[in-house]
Symmetry: C2
């Protein structure tokens, strides 16, 4: 699959995900009775024109194993709500203190801090209800998905990684510590998407593990590409201020390795992802391209 | 049942809940691998010597219908994690800005704001995993519990109520608006406990509705008793600063009604709760006393 072809696919998927999220955040029974102010803040946090990479991974992994596309989309929307809540909270003044996201005011800027905290809380709470309510899946599968999401998005996963990232500003970290932090902060939710896709399709335990590993590779590659971009990117092409990590005292592997070593590492992660997909032959091509895509982002 | 007898029962339950929460927040597999700093903050937020009224209601309601006590306790712990996270976030500077809770520094004071936000997020995320992992319940029941908790704790429930409460500071609210806000902010999670107890025991839909209504009455009574205490209580007996609501611009029914009318209202709520329990005769006595207990608190 060519990159251009993949990008068309991803864009179409992102548009569909955006529409479904819009529907969910206006008419799903789990939000019926929500105060308007809160619902507006939740919508602001979610309907931001993101690439929707995580939902794409859920749907494509489910498709690889013949899972129900509608069920996969519902789980994908739930995980995107988790991703969105994490961005709303990460942007808060007490965390990364960002005023803009994708050129638009962050939730605490468009509303206020209290509303942003509560909108994040509401999105996180909603996500578990959404997964528990996917009628096309057995109750057993839904329960497994809730447990998986709780672990990967929670204390031993994404939230834990964010705590390590905040702490990292205070003292110099080793390569192992930085890698662990990034695997938790970014890798955990991305690998959750891929494992969830396998679960939705009732794939074998082996395939579930394989897709989790694929997701871990993609997650770490995603973060590494981000770090390289921040350190060596062209601000005009990227469209945002760069060298922010150093300025904020954030520790990335770019503090330890030079450009060449970082790019070699990235290439190894992609090769690893491709190898994990080999058993699926051509059917694994979209996901292989997804792994390459996250690592060659110019913005 | 006499009040003194009830208090002994509630205290014994609170001690057991505290011990189980301590176990959960040190050795449950859902927190395995959590960074120490985060786990300490989560423990600080949860292990605070609360009355554990919500877990008590889950367990007693489940008992009323012959539910499995161990399963009820596990669900009770999950809901207490939700209650604890809500306190951690409510105490934040952007919300109620409280430095102390039960005489101890709040989480953002003992740690920092970012850690408090993330510890709250982690507790909320954990709670859904805990409920999904209750092995003694069928997957169908676990799924129903997750959906129930998502609604009651989320945008149309507790979080929505907190948003309305924050907004209430800005303009004068009507009695209906104040009652709606309190029913969502305090009533939704308390009624969730009672409905969850009925669900755990596979009670009939009628009994489930009955217990939800009982819980709604208890929740509103709880909040009303709090408002009366804040307006008319003796600061020395209560052990904390009073008349805070007025000072913070919070709107309660104490701004609309005098003491006598508020107490009549409270009495009517208790009578309502007692009537809902009548079909259970003596077996409903503990829960009837719980309704009376929340309304006669002196501190």
């Amino acid at each position: 699959m060519k990159t251009a072809e993949f990008e068309v696919l991803l864009k179409a998927s992102a548009a569909a995900v955006g529409d479904y999220l819009d529907d969910t955040l206006s008419s799903n029974q789990l939000v019926a009775g929500t105060p308007h102010h809160l619902l507006n803040a939740m919508r602001h946090g979610v309907l931001n024109g993101g690439k929707r990479l995580r939902p794409f991974l859920v749907c494509e992994t489910a498709k690889l194993f013949g899972g129900d596309p509608k069920a996969a989309m519902q789980v994908a929307l739930a995980i995107e709500c988790i991703h969105s809540y994490s961005l709303v909270h990460d942007d808060l003044p007490a965390m990364d203190d960002d005023d803009l996201r994708r050129g638009k005011p962050t939730v605490h800027k468009a509303f206020d801090e209290a509303t942003a905290i509560l909108a994040g809380d509401a999105l996180l709470t909603l996500s578990f209800g959404l997964v528990a309510a996917v009628e096309a899946l057995s109750a057993e599968t839904r329960v497994k998905l809730v447990i998986l999401m709780s672990k990967r998005a929670g204390a031993p996963g994404m939230v834990g990684g964010q705590v390590l990232d905040m702490q990292a500003k205070e003292k110099r970290r080793s390569e192992i510590e930085i890698t662990r932090m990034q695997a938790m902060k970014t890798g955990a939710l991305i690998s959750c998407c891929c494992e969830a896709g396998a679960l939705i399709a009732s794939a074998s335990d082996d395939d579930r593990t394989r897709m989790r590993r694929y997701g871990e590779n993609v997650g770490i590659a995603f973060q590494l590409a981000d770090d390289i971009l921040d350190e060596y990117g062209d601000a005009e092409v990227v469209g945002k201020a760069l060298r922010k990590d150093r300025g904020q005292g954030k520790q990335t592997l770019a503090l330890i390795y030079g450009k060449r070593a970082l790019e070699d590492r990235l290439a190894a992660l992609i090769t690893g992802a491709e190898e994990l997909l080999q058993p699926f032959g051509e059917r694994g091509e979209v996901l292989a391209e997804a792994a390459r895509f996250v690592s060659v982002r110019k913005q």
